[in-house]
Subunit: 222 residues, 2 copies
DNA sequence: TTAAAATATGAATAAGCATTCATATTTTGC
DNA sequence: GCAAAATATGAATGCTTATTCATATTTTAA
């Protein structure tokens, strides 16, 4: 075909310009497809019960091809969890970066955490397992890496509480970091409830925030 | 031995009287030892990476003996998790059964949940994995059973909130069940923090309860 | 068009591990 | 003490599955 030479020239041109060649795009698509198949099977059947052959079949590749992209099963799993968690943390970090006042920031955090979770149900089980559950040795170091990232997010959240306190907007009822832990865990609890089909995740973040904001105890004396 | 007949007679006598024979006691000890070895290995290495041979070795029995006590690996795992969770829920149910006033009940719940967890660190990882994590198919039905039991405990906790509200002691800032979910998840979050070595679990339950009781927001106008 | 290079394939290999069962050891009842 | 009966043992079996690699297919570049 006459076009082939042209196409090739184009390819080189694009590479040099930090764009992506056709082949590169194809590779990424393949990788995406593999990860998509893997996330489904892992979250359905767990790490050990999902075989490489199954994953390959579901992604419509041969096993050998899987190994062209991922050194081994653990590597595949790590890539999966890490990339998803990244998207996760990026989203929520961006949410907290908006300077819209502390109360609004908290409201947005609760809302967006809900949204991200709902949009990635398949991944959530893995995520819970990784961040809270028995880390199960698969992947030495993976979970401490994830925990660390989670910790960083909580620190950003803690800063919001801290700032609100300095402004005299929030009372110092606990350490800012503890409040961050608390708010985040409230979201998790409600999301977990929602996952079990026990309840729906609150439409409005205020239902969760009220627990923080209102205080439970009836004021006793004026 | 002259004693043997006597012993045997005694055995029958005891059986009839719902007491335990020597052999029975021995059996239970063996079972306990097996479960103890299993819990260590499972919580260290996870279900799939702990082999029956290893468990047997650690408990100082032959594999075959393990199979005299448990139908198969899954059965062993189920027994383990179920029995531990039972102790768990019995303890906390008992705690909430004491009629010492709603505030004190909540305080006791937070305290005892902390204690029980600290005393069973090895099990906690499994527990978290079972109650929150990817249920991972091992043991179909196990996790829904555990979730159900957890749900029941939360309902008892919810009743405490409900009662406190009726007495005008608590404000109705959220559904009682939601408050139960929230308080329980706060405990989990702090315990999980403690597990990671990030922080110690609060000596006094009040640190956790304050988050509920005080309310974060500074009152704006009188 | 064509041959060399790159890539994809999946059958074959090897290792791990749950489970069984023929045999050895211990306990029981006399 | 002794021989059934009960119990414990761990080597052998069979199955699953991660990983490899010789071969087939596709792409590249002339």
């Amino acid at each position: 075909m006459a076009a082939s030479k042209v196409r090739h020239a184009g390819t080189n041109f694009m590479k040099e310009n930090k764009n992506i060649s056709r082949r590169e795009r194809e590779k990424r698509r393949q990788r995406r497809d593999m990860l998509a198949a893997a996330i489904q099977l892992f979250s359905e059947k767990g790490y050990h019960n999902a075989s490489m052959q199954e994953i390959a079949a579901k992604a419509e590749f041969a096993v050998g091809t899987l190994y062209k992209f991922f050194k081994n099963k653990e590597d595949l799993y790590k890539a999966l969890v890490t990339e998803q968690a990244d998207r996760f943390h990026e989203t929520l970090t961006a949410t907290l970066a908006e300077e819209v006042g502390e109360i609004e920031q908290l409201r947005n955090y609760v809302r967006d955490k809900g949204t991200v979770f709902m949009d990635n149900v398949a991944f959530i089980r893995l995520y819970f397992a990784e961040t809270r559950g028995a880390s199960f040795n698969i992947k030495a170091g993976l979970d401490s890496e994830l925990r660390e990232r989670h910790h960083q997010l909580l620190q950003i959240l803690a800063a919001v509480f801290s700032k609100g306190m300095n402004k005299g907007m929030f009372r110092r009822i606990a350490e800012p970091y503890h409040l961050a832990v608390a708010l985040d865990s409230l979201c998790n609890a409600f999301l977990s409830n929602w996952l079990e089909g026990r309840d729906s995740y609150p439409e409005s973040p205020d239902i969760i925030l009220n627990i923080f904001f209102q205080g439970l105890l009836e004021p006793t004396a004026p």
